[in-house]
Amino acid sequence: NGAGFSKVRGSQSGQDSTRWHVVKKFLGLISSHNIPVFLIDPLILGLVDKDIEEIRSSPDGPSPECKYFCAPRDFTTFALLDKTWKHEVGLFRAAEKMGFQWLKIINKDPRLDGMDDLSGIEIPLHYIFKLASHAIHLVVFYERSGNYLWHGPLRLKQHMDRKFVPFRKLHFGRYPGAYEKPELLLVSVDDLKVQIPKNPSSFLEEMSQSRFLECRYREARAFFQLYPDDASLDGVEFRKKAKSLLHLAVLTLNNLGVKFWLSSGTCLGWYRQCNVIPYSKDVDLGVFIRDYKADIIPAFQKAGLPLKHKFGKVEDSLELSFQGDDVKLDIFFFYEEDDHIWNGGTQAKSGKKFKYLFPKFTLCWTEFVELKVHVPCETLQYVEANYGPDWKVPVKTWDWKSSPSNVQYNGIWPVEEWDDVIQIY
């Protein structure tokens, strides 16, 4: 069927049956080794997404024309879940027999990177199978603590063939990425049976914001050399509580679909020591004001975290505090301006307003206390704005009104508004 089909397609102008043939061969190879891969090629998924209803409803139907796999491209990208296959050399021998050239890109296992004393075990991150003028880019995804999938960056080592394929054009590998575990769907497109993410458009949306930052484990180790960790019972207990509060907060905000990031001391803890700062007393999150939802407060209350105080209003300097088990959760709302981003603070007794200025930033994923969470990608600027150039030195006495290097006095709330903008429970 496939051969006949491709003859027709191959003759059409602008179409490339080579690609279709290579993909078909590759799918045959991996299915004969029982390796479940799924399609993550953004260009094909984009096309597939437009016809998704039709494709879903006819999982076996023959295709009248080659719509997806015949556009001439250098690559087609697939994903592989590491835990679903054994690293058998048989696959590569078989690939060679079929005429594939292949390249394996390995690097340190980040799951063991945080552990100072395990030697750098290297794991395969990317494979490239090349046949004729087309290449299959196989991205290896790993499950990590925090119930998400991770893929590594693609970095060539010294001796590698830099011209094996045009690496710069690859869609995956410029940065490491983090994804939710996608639900998969087996479909037939262009007479090829492939697994695709059940919802291609949300996968593509995720892909555009998938950049992942690894915690700076080496620097964190150096930090603890200088300032030994607090191993006291109180420290251990606080961390445990902060961790469980953060887990609850992440669950609540994710359920609401509110995007957030680690802010203030919690962000500093991640960046400086890859852990909760044991004397920090609270957990801090940032949310863009455009993502504010009125049901945040009831959702937290339902989760067992009563509102402790609410300062400001949606239009200006909003912040919310919820009371956890001995640990407070602060949510600061951030307001975007042309050249900076800021959030506000309010002193309850005086009605004084403060403003904290940050350079503009984007969001990246990271892993923190077994959670997949956002942090500002430009973390250093963010932390330096907040804590100044000496952020590496632990400070135990902190006044939020004067200590931060980016604090500005921002006037006083009009007395008639106090009931609204200063609510304490």
């Binding site: 063991l112 004393d117 395990l118 445990k240």
Partner: protein
């Protein structure tokens, strides 16, 4: 393991040997004063044990070190013959072997492949195996044949070595005291003429081919009990064979490629490397139906005991329901040979930079291994923790599959362990029976992720605290009154004799006679009755049915328990409060079960078997089950022996820890 490759750039042979010989002799002299001091003390101890040897030993040769000044050395330097044939086309190896009281070394073509001059270690017979075609070092072992049973290990090892390999022997300090006739005969069969007559503090070197020619042997008799034989230096040549002759010709499969890689590198693993019908390295045991632990990661904690690891992994991979993809071997240190074993079986292994020393090092290795396990398998709710010196029962995973839901659902549980501390040949009977115990046996156990992540990991003892991880886990601050589930008949067997807290005597006394289940697919009995409340009901039922034994008899005597089978008996011992184990310890001692600390109890109740009858021991009045005691009956009290006796019973260092 150090590797040696024929090397054209190797140092000139003679220069090396003169230098080493000079260096070692000088060092010996320095040690002489110290030697005489300790010699006097040792003499007293040794006379008692070896007075028979004294009669035999009549020679009184003067102990005199050969003088050799630095000037002589310098002169020699000038006279050294520098020219050598290139090594690459050479079919002959120069081998030097040195044996002395305080150091040994072996050099092959000028490259030192063994050099041990550390104080107070490395005593006994050092053995090196070379590949007969390449000259590579394939194995390096030391057997402390001054101590019991080490000679048996050496015999076992030598039998494992393939025919044709080059064997090199040298003694450091003392290697004859527990070198029995069997071992001497094996050495004799290898061509040694001296081995049958090796005696106290003799120095000895020997080079020969297994099943073939002898390349050289040197011996120096000890002149007196308090002194050592003169150092001996053997220099000889070994003729290499062709690579073809040294390798096996197995069919070219992926498994055999792994085998070949392994067998050309290391020695001492016997039939796995035999050319004809090698033993399999893939086992394909029957899968388990409804296997609840198929996706539970298995962490194997290993050190540098590759032969143990080999035996352990064989039994693990043969257990029904094993999932090799979930196994990770954590090696404490950058040792090559354990990693070779891991790769032979196609498993994944991770090496761990050693941190701290002794017990703390083990403890840090455990922590790193557990953290890594949960990082690598983030979905896992549990981890199975094994050690390299355990045999794993064929129904190990079946046992866990049937019981793991309890660990998930019953918060009063701390672990599931495959090991029953009190399960000896004469005290364990029923492979389908489970207990709840207040102790944490270890030796093959299941850890709940939440326990590790939320409680243990954050406050795990730091490297500077020299704590045993298992002792720490047993402390009330950690255990918090929770219990472990164990089988009556253990699903693991502790075969390790060499270890941090292990020696031959200790192993024989406490581990050798441990019962180990060999029956496949045992259906566990009444698993639900192991839940917290149900277990109390079960105990009351058992006690209700139990016949009270005659307390006027001696509980240590066999006749204390009637000659019946399948009955339930109960005895009551004195136990004033929760921590009063005076009588229990004496009872445990005379029953020849674990008595070094208290194990296997549940609220002042111990359950075991005697003469195939279930035998319950209740501590009165501390145990809540004391009410079952007939009012008129006096609980048995056994007095501890006088202090000195108690102290002699078990070496103190060994008593510190079980695992």
């Amino acid at each position: 393991m150090e590797e040696w490759k024929p090397n054209a750039a190797a140092k000139p042979h003679k220069k090396r040997s003169w230098y080493l010989a000079w260096k070692y002799k000088l060092m010996n002299q320095r040690a002489l004063r110290k030697l005489c001091q300790t010699g006097a003390v040792l003499f007293l101890l040794v006379t008692v044990i070896v007075n028979i040897k004294l009669i035999l030993d009549t020679r009184r040769a003067a102990y005199e070190e050969e003088e050799e000044s630095a000037q002589d050395y310098d002169d020699e330097m000038l006279n050294v013959e520098v020219h050598r044939h290139p090594v690459s086309n050479k079919k002959v190896l120069d081998v030097e072997v040195y044996s002395s009281r305080s150091k040994v070394y072996v050099a092959v073509d000028g490259t030192t492949v063994l050099e041990d001059e550390a104080r107070e270690q490395g005593r006994g017979i050092h053995v090196i195996v070379l590949n007969q075609a390449t000259g590579h070092v394939m194995a390096k072992r030391v057997f402390d044949t001054y101590s019991p049973h080490e000679d048996e290990a050496m015999v076992l090892f030598l039998n494992m070595v393939a025919r044709g390999r080059i064997l090199i022997f040298t003694i450091k300090d003392e290697g004859s005291f527990h070198l029995k006739d069997t071992a001497k005969n094996v050495l004799k069969s290898l061509g040694s003429q001296v081995a049958p007559f090796l005696s106290w503090r003799d120095m000895w070197t020997f080079v020969g081919k297994k099943g073939g020619e002898v390349y050289g042997e040197k011996h120096a008799k000890s002149p007196a009990l308090s002194t050592w034989g003169d150092p001996v230096l053997l220099k000889t040549e070994v003729h290499l064979t062709s690579v073809e002759d040294a390798e096996c010709h197995w069919p070219d499969t992926e498994l055999n490629r792994r085998r070949k890689r392994f067998c050309s590198k290391v020695e001492g693993y016997g039939s796995v490397c035999s050319c004809k019908d090698p033993t399999p390295i893939e086992f394909n045991p029957d899968p388990l139906k409804d296997n609840k632990v198929f996706n539970v990661p298995v962490a194997v904690i290993a050190g540098n005991r590759p032969n143990y690891l080999y035996r352990m992994l064989r039994s693990l991979l043969s257990a029904q329901g094993v999932n090799p993809q979930m196994i990770t071997v954590f090696i404490d240190g950058y040792y090559e040979e354990p990693m070779d074993v891991v790769e032979l079986f196609g498993l994944s292994g991770i090496q761990h930079t050693p941190i701290s020393i002794k017990n703390a090092r083990v403890s840090q290795h455990y922590k790193a291994s557990l953290t890594a396990t949960f990082n690598l398998f983030p979905d896992a709710k549990f981890a199975v923790v094994l050690e390299e010196d355990l045999d794993i029962s064929v129904d190990f995973f079946s046992f866990l599959s049937q019981s793991i839901h309890l660990l998930e659902e019953d918060e009063s549980l701390y672990c599931i362990s495959a090991w029953n501390d009190q399960g000896y040949e004469h005290t364990a009977e029923d492979p389908s029976l489970l207990y709840r115990v207040e102790s944490m046996p270890g030796l093959g156990w299941v850890l709940r992720k939440s326990l590790y992540k939320d409680e243990l990991e954050p406050k795990w003892p730091t490297p500077e605290k020299l704590w045993d991880w298992d002792m720490w886990m047993r402390m009330p601050e950690q255990r918090k009154g929770r219990e472990c589930i164990i089988p009556d008949v253990s699903r693991s067997y502790h075969f390790g004799i060499v270890g941090l807290n292990m020696n031959g005597y200790f192993h024989e006394a406490y581990f050798k006679k441990h019962k180990f289940n060999t029956v496949p697919n045992v259906q566990l009995k009444n698993v639900e009755s192991l839940r917290k409340d149900a277990y109390e009901t079960e105990i009351h039922r058992l006690l209700g049915e139990a016949e009270v034994l005659d307390h006027s008899k001696n509980p240590c005597e066999d006749s204390f328990v009637p000659d019946t089978e399948g009955r339930v008996y109960v005895m009551f011992i004195r136990m004033e409060q929760e921590a009063d184990f005076t009588t229990w310890t004496q009872l445990a001692k005379c029953l020849h079960i674990w008595d070094l600390d208290v194990r296997g109890n549940h609220k002042g109740l111990w359950r075991l078997f005697r003469k195939k009858n279930h035998f319950l021991v209740v501590g009165v009045p501390a145990s809540p089950y004391s009410s079952k005691k007939p009012p008129s009956m006096t609980p048995i009290y056994m007095e501890p022996p006088a202090k000195e006796e108690g102290a002699v019973a078990v070496p103190a260092a060994a008593a510190a820890e079980q695992t």
